[in-house]
Assembly symmetry: C2
Homo-oligomer: 142 residues x 2
DNA sequence: CTACGAGTTAGAGCCGACTCGAGGTCAAAC
DNA sequence: GTTTGACCTCGAGTCGGCTCTAACTCGTAG
């Protein structure tokens, strides 16, 4: 497969694929054809898809590289690879919890605004005009 | 409250607080004492905590600034503030889904390794020595 | 034959959000 | 009266991960 095809299949730009090769993210050296163009295997596409997930969940390139290095070395490195994965799993789980916390705050504010806006539009049914300055309650609304 | 106290309370560094002021993230101009030092109110601490959540969930500084500007303008801007919040809520929800997808992939691999390692250690009970080269099965394990 | 499209390299540039450093002011403690 | 520590401003530096550019090489189609 050419770099363009792999780019299509993985959603990673050709630039990024070359960059990843340079960064040592591939498990095996990328093969080339007679003209020096990269040739990718299905297996590499699979690996790149995994890489994409690791990246999108915040694993750093050095960590992915380390993992790839271990996979390259093969047998005997499983324990460390496992460790890397478990650490990342924990990290992502934390991330999700943080995000959920933020989401709760945001939802709280959204609900507040929804209420406020509903009340506002109810108001404008009673009074006349949108610029009517109503009594502003104690706390500023931000 | 001094910048140091607010830093404590919000978890944002003093550098970051000054930076945020400069970036126009505060709803009102930050007050100063006679010596030119910043004085913060409880309200501002509350807002900064919200900012921290917005940031940690990936809202950009320009978006937070916009929101703060609208809050500063006060009445009549609620609808747009609401919109900003709803858009961000949707974004965070998407983020969580993506993260969950990545987490599923990672968990799948973790499970695979757990299995593999359990089998490996079972092997080493039967054979003698850790470097014994067993028959490598078809697919490379990465 | 030449134009096109898809690839190649090395290296520079970009972006957001901090983060840090230098050099200075001020108030209170010793 | 000087030392400490917390603060100030301004501007530069950092970081990761791309992203883009320029100049070049191929192989094929018209």
């Amino acid at each position: 497969m050419s770099i363009g095809e792999v780019s299509e299949l993985t959603g990673l730009s050709a630039h990024t694929l070359r960059f990843y090769e340079q960064e040592g993210l591939f498990v095996e050296a990328v093969r080339r054809n007679s003209a020096g163009r990269r040739l990718f295997t299905e297996q590499e596409v699979g690996w790149l898809r995994v890489c994409a997930k690791l990246r999108s969940s915040g694993m750093s390139l050095p960590d992915i590289r380390r993992y790839a290095e271990l996979a390259r070395e093969g047998q005997g490195t499983e324990a460390e690879r496992f460790e890397i994965l478990r650490r990342h799993e924990a990290k992502v789980t934390r991330q999700m919890a943080d995000l959920q916390e933020a989401l709760d705050v945001i939802k709280g504010k959204v609900a507040l605004y929804a209420e406020h806006l509903a009340a506002g539009s109810a108001d404008s049914l009673w009074r006349d005009g949108p610029t009517c300055p109503s009594t502003v309650p104690a706390g500023r609304q931000d």
